[in-house]
Symmetry: C2
Subunit: 191 residues, 2 copies
C-alpha cells in the first residue's frame, strides 16, 4: 500500500481517460489516488428502557455525549464494526437487532450505518476514548450536550421505531444535512 | 489532499498512540494514512415486470451482466450515487423506492448499498462503461453470466421483497462472503 503515499512524480489533478471527475494522478506512473466517502458504524444500545451514551474523551466534541460509533475498519462488516465500537467505547457487548438508519453527511463525505441493539448486560464502563459511559432513560438524555446531529437523529429514530420488528431504515430528517444541531447550534465545532 | 501522496519521510506500519491497529505513518511528520472500506451504491431498476441489466465494457468481468452500481463519490449521498450510476451505465433516470439490501464483502473491504428503483422510462441504452443495456423478464435473466455474486443476491432480494412496501434491508445470504458465485464459480476472476 505504501506506494500510495510515495508517488514520486508531479501530482496533478485531472480527469483520467474514461472518467468524468478530476482525480489526483501521478504524472510519472499514472497512479490514480481515488478518494471516496468513509463509513461510520454505530448503534443505539438499549438495556430495558434506557440507552447507552458515552462521553467523548477525544476531539472533536470532547466532553459531549454520543452513541458508540466510529469508522469502519478494513475487512470488517458493518455489524461487526458497530459491535466493536460498543466494546471499545463502553466495554459493552451487544446483540444487533436491526439497521435503524442510514444517514448521509455529504459535506464531510460520510455515510453512517446505525443499528438498533440490545445490551447483553447493563454493566458498561468507559473505554479509552470515553470519559464516561452510562445508561439514560429518555427524559434523562442530555439533549443539549449531544456530540453530533446524527446522535440526536438516531435517538429520535430509535424512539420512532420502538416496537417495530421489520421496518425500512430511517434517513436524515427532511432537509437536514448534518451541518447543524437540531437546536440550531453549529455541528462539528471544535473545542 | 496531495500531501497524502507525498509524505517525504520513511513510511512505517505501526500502531499510533491511543490506537489499536497498525496504520501507515510517516516517521517525519507523523501523518497517519487511514485506509477504510469503500461504499458501492447501485439499484435494481424495474420497468413493469422487467429489470435493467448492463453488460460491462470494462474490467473486471468485462462482458458479464450487472445492475448499475459503482463507487460512491465524495460529497455524494448514497441515493444520489445510485441514480448517477444508472445514468452513467444505462442513460436511465430512476425513482428510488427503498433500500433493498446492505451487503458486505469484507475480503475486499466493500460495503454495498443497493436500492430498489423504478425506471422513469423503458428507453435505456449503454453508457460509456457498458457494451449493452437491456430490460429482462425474470426468466430471461442471464443467470450464468452475471458479473458478481452480489448482482445475483440483489436480483433474488428484489424478487423476495416484491410487493413489500416497508421492509428491513436484506443482507448477504447466510454464510456468503461474496467470494464465490452462487453456482460455485470463482468471483472477481479477471479476464
Amino acid at each position: 500500500m505504501s506506494e500510495t503515499l510515495r508517488a514520486k512524480g508531479p501530482i496533478v489533478e485531472r480527469v483520467p481517460e474514461g472518467d468524468t471527475r478530476a482525480r489526483l494522478v501521478c504524472e510519472d506512473c499514472g497512479f490514480i489516488r481515488y478518494e471516496n466517502p468513509k463509513i461510520v458504524v454505530g448503534a443505539v444500545c438499549a438495556w430495558e428502557d434506557r440507552v447507552l451514551l458515552c462521553r467523548r474523551a477525544i476531539v472533536p466534541r470532547r466532553g459531549y455525549w454520543t452513541i458508540p460509533a466510529g469508522y469502519l475498519e478494513l475487512n470488517e462488516s458493518p455489524a461487526a464494526g458497530a459491535a466493536r465500537e460498543a466494546r471499545e467505547e463502553a466495554e459493552a457487548e451487544i446483540a444487533i437487532d436491526a439497521l435503524l438508519a442510514v444517514y448521509a453527511v455529504p459535506r464531510i463525505s460520510q455515510v453512517q450505518l446505525i443499528y438498533r441493539a440490545r445490551l447483553i448486560s447493563p454493566a458498561v464502563k468507559p473505554g479509552i476514548e470515553s470519559e464516561d459511559a452510562a445508561l439514560f432513560g429518555w427524559d434523562a438524555i442530555p439533549w443539549r450536550e449531544l456530540a453530533f446531529p446524527s446522535v440526536h437523529w438516531a435517538l429520535d429514530d430509535f424512539r420512532a421505531t420502538a416496537g417495530l420488528a421489520a421496518f425500512a431504515p430511517r434517513g436524515n430528517p427532511p432537509g437536514a444535512t448534518g451541518d447543524r444541531m437540531p437546536d440550531g447550534g453549529a455541528a462539528w465545532r471544535r473545542e
